[in-house]
């Protein structure tokens, strides 16, 4: 079986790869932005604001675009959401602000809030304008674990108040999922790092790389050495399918594939000729779409339930389909099929057996017994991540694998706060930013300075 394990890099030439991984949604021109901004009604008690997890004053920032006050517009956005630039790129606006837009009710054509937000924040960042000043140093020190959106938002909020922040980051670069977990075409031109440079320019924030909680630093030590601790750990664990053969060549975690795509030159990233992605979230969409864009011939996402249950929005699903990814729903993997390449001993995946699923009378997902097999050189697992919990004593309380927090994002430990994907709630960048923002405000209050 010579076609077993057909996984290769460089399936497409450099020009094609560059085109495929360019900005998925190019920015609005200045003219487009003004036309779009003028459509906004400047609603009172605007539903879009309520739908934004960070509560950005959307009508105000849009009005400022319409009047040519772009600096004021960006400031309004960043005041509520310091990662407003990346949220403009990755927020599922179709289920947040834009779904709430009154134009959606009126004529099903919401204001392009995300695109306008990008227009204003890009304008500010391109000019190197620093919209915030750091307060006089307070001498208080806070440890932030994880340089993802939650940790960065928290660190920025604390730094603005004059506190000194040290971020402990396990990876060699900051950004968390913005740097390692989101499709390259959403953050073209190294946007994640440019934005982080902008955030850190406020001063008072130091990042120590290669420092993982529980391995290189302990919570006990951080609590001892700092006035407060914020945990923005994310979900570093990856869920397994629980099937035999997951260690076979060609079976891979989708999140690792996405990370490699962000870190390595695209022509060095290997992809199968036939790829099966298992899962129904944005990780599945990003992995599958990028597999196609790398040159995979045949990419199928398989999800065990229907389109409404997928955590990827309808727009995300449509995006994948536009890129010739096939989505098959109501099927669950039951067996990984392997083979051995000529001249080798190690088995490689050759396909996945799925059982069709349905809901039984009680609404539970059940297997119908009907089986089909999809041939695959590469299987990408995207069925969710989990918290790698801190093995030390005195860890904050967990519930359903997440750190329990109150409205201020304070954990069961009085000086420890947490936010982002490691706490309950939607796993969205914008939600993580809000967690970090609220925690920073609460820590500042708690420090009483």
């Amino acid at each position: 079986m010579s076609d077993i394990g057909d996984i290769a890099a460089g399936r497409l030439d450099a020009a094609q790869l560059a085109a495929n991984f360019a900005d998925a949604h190019p920015p609005l021109s200045a003219a487009q932005a003004v036309v779009e901004a003028n459509r906004c009604y400047f609603c009172y008690d605007a539903p879009c604001v309520e739908a934004c997890p960070t509560g950005i004053d959307i009508p105000s920032f849009i009005r400022k675009i319409a009047t040519g006050n772009l600096r004021g517009s960006a400031q309004t956005i960043l005041e509520a959401n310091i990662l407003g630039g990346s949220c403009a790129r990755v927020c599922p606006t179709e289920v947040l602000c834009e779904r709430a837009c009154v134009h959606t009710a009126q004529e099903r054509k919401p204001i392009q809030i995300g695109a306008l937000q990008r227009h204003a924040t890009d304008w500010l960042m391109e000019r190197g304008i620093a919209p915030f000043r750091r307060a006089e140093p307070t001498g208080r020190r806070i440890a932030v674990v994880g340089a993802g959106p939650a940790g960065l938002a928290c660190a920025h909020g604390l730094a603005r108040h004059g506190h000194e922040v040290t971020i402990f980051e396990a990876r060699p670069k900051p950004g968390g999922l913005n740097e390692y977990g989101i499709a390259a075409y959403k953050f073209a031109d190294d946007y994640a790092q440019r934005e982080i440079g902008f955030i850190l320019s406020i001063g008072g924030i130091r990042i120590e790389y290669g420092k993982a909680l529980g391995l290189d630093v302990t919570l006990d030590a951080l609590r001892r050495d700092y006035d407060a601790v914020f945990l923005g750990l994310g979900q570093a664990g990856v869920k397994a399918l629980g099937l035999a053969g997951e260690a076979m060549a060609g079976v891979r975690d989708a999140i690792d594939f996405i990370a490699e795509l962000r870190q390595a030159p695209k022509d060095r990233v290997a992809v199968g000729r036939r790829v099966v992605v298992i899962g129904g979230g944005n990780t599945a969409i990003d992995a599958a779409t990028q597999a196609r864009l790398l040159g995979a011939e045949d990419v199928t996402i398989v999800y065990r339930r229907g389109p409404e249950q997928m955590t990827a929005t309808g727009e995300e699903q449509a995006w994948a389909q536009t890129n010739n990814v096939r989505i098959r729903r109501w099927a669950a993997p039951t067996r990984l099929i392997g083979g051995t390449r000529e001249g080798t001993q190690d088995p490689a995946v050759t396909g996945v057996e799925f059982a069709r699923t349905k809901l039984d009378a009680a609404g539970r997902l059940t297997l119908t017994g009907e089986i089909f097999v999809l041939a695959a050189d590469m299987v990408l697992k995207a069925i969710g991540q989990s918290l790698v919990s801190d093995p030390v004593e005195d860890a904050p309380a967990l519930c359903d694998g997440r750190i329990v927090v109150d409205a201020d994002r304070r954990t069961s430990l009085p000086d420890v706060y947490a936010g982002g994907d490691c706490v309950p709630g939607a796993d969205l960048t914008v939600v993580a930013v809000q967690d970090g923002k609220l925690a920073a405000a609460a820590i500042h209050r708690q420090l009483g300075c």
Partner: protein, 423 residues
């Protein structure tokens, strides 16, 4: 199909849509294109004495509002800058080529009888249908004691009109300036001088904006600006009022309506308030001559729907309902009603009323959903919410039952000078 043929001061045209005296009517080339597009008539751009005036570069200013271009428009252009004979020759040729269209010639010469007498004779030779005396231009020419400098002095209006009527058999239309406190004074003066009709409004004195880098009024001419003449959609309400005032006070005087007319509905409104025909400029400068197609069939279709057979049947129909404030019924009561099924929850009805008016629209949450409700007892029926609501038909103003019939201020108990009722 409605008959749109028009006869204004004895000047016939296939429809009531004329182009006003302005850049679009400066040359035979433009006028021929306009007639080809379907315009019923033109008033040729104002002729003056030789040597021709000189125009500046940078002539127009515009108002953009919420992305809408040329909501208002201004110019500092003067009258024609071409030699008189060139214009006269072209007018003669155009009238010969388009005999069914109205060709009226606008004139502006110094305030001496000889000047008017001499130009009238030369203009009559073109075979044109009439003249329009430009007593309206409020910039540049007025500094030379012409244009609105004449129009602002009723005695001059009457005097020059009389000269013209004495020295020509052509119909004489007097174009009025709106830059006066009482439009009836120059209108009545024109009538006393024998004018066959008046046309209004000419442009309003204006500064459209300031270039905040150059710190100069727009349009900027080499770092400086001067006031211009304002026109376009923004001035329609001002023009409508002046036309209606004349129609109400001087019923027999033909009026050619001008001022921000862009679509057939604008024209219908001017005609309803007494205009015999209408003149258009800014709308064609923005969109070209083709817009007349919609003006013609839009007006005809509306007239068909209403059963008006001729323009005359529409003319002045709203004048009888244009009254003084004191004649309004103080016992008339309307309140806003919100159709909740159409409401998109923008909250504009609430915030306008709450911040600036009568606190008559409550902002509620019902099971977490926004709901805006009119508080009937507080609503004075001002129309603000109805005007602000972006959804057609969502807010309507509903008449409330009242007792006591019509009560005007003249009869109202709060009026110390009230007239006791006859009973």
């Amino acid at each position: 199909m409605a008959d749109l043929r028009s006869n204004f001061c004895g000047i016939a045209s296939p429809n009531p849509f004329w182009l006003a005296s302005a850049p679009p009517t400066d040359k035979a080339y433009n006028v021929a294109r306009a007639f080809k597009a379907g315009w019923g008539g033109v008033v040729w751009k104002t002729l003056g004495e030789d040597p021709p005036i000189v125009n500046v570069s940078s002539r127009y200013g515009g108002i953009s509002y919420n992305g809408v271009r040329i909501a208002g428009f201004s110019n500092i252009e003067l009258i024609t800058d071409r030699p008189l004979q060139v214009n006269l020759d072209e007018i003669k040729q155009i009238k010969r080529d388009w005999p069914d269209r109205a060709v009226v010639v606008s004139l502006m010469v110094p305030c001496t009888e000889d000047s008017w007498k001499s130009i009238l004779a030369r203009v009559a030779d073109t075979g044109c249908d009439g003249v329009e005396l430009n007593f309206g231009c409020p910039h540049g020419m007025s500094e030379r004691n012409m244009g609105s400098a004449v129009g602002q002095v009723p005695e001059y209006v009457e005097m020059v009109t009389r000269w013209c009527k004495q020295h020509t058999r052509m119909p004489v239309i007097v174009k009025l300036t709106p830059n006066v406190t009482d439009i009836l004074a120059p209108a009545a003066a024109a009538q006393r001088g024998g004018a066959d009709g008046v046309s209004l409004v000419n442009t309003l004195q204006s500064i459209t904006g300031v270039d905040l880098d150059l710190m100069a009024p727009e349009p900027v001419v080499d770092g400086l600006g001067t006031h211009g003449g304002y026109c376009g959609p923004a001035i329609k309400p001002i023009a409508l009022r002046m036309v209606a005032d004349i129609a109400r006070a001087i019923p027999g005087l033909p009026v050619s309506g001008i001022g921000g007319i862009s679509v057939w509905r604008d024209a219908a409104e001017f005609i309803a308030l007494g205009a015999g025909n209408v003149q258009v400029c800014t709308a064609v400068m923005h969109h070209g001559f083709k817009i007349v197609e919609d003006m013609i069939d839009g007006l005809a279709n509306w007239m068909d729907g209403k059963g008006y057979a001729t323009v005359a049947a529409v003319q002045g129909r709203a004048v009888r309902n244009y009254v003084h404030w004191n004649d309004l019924n103080l016992n008339y009561k309307i309140v806003a009603k919100i159709d909740q099924s159409l409401c998109i929850k923008c909250g504009l009805c609430h915030i306008g009323c709450e911040d600036t008016s009568h606190q008559a629209i409550a902002a509620l949450r019902v099971n977490g959903e926004r709901r805006y409700e009119v508080i009937d007892a507080e609503c004075v029926g001002c129309n603000l919410c109805y005007l602000a609501c972006p959804v057609d038909g969502c807010i309507t103003m509903e008449r409330q039952e009242t007792t006591g019939g019509v009560v005007t201020w003249e009869q109202h108990p709060n009026n110390p000078l009230r007239k006791e009722s006859a009973a």
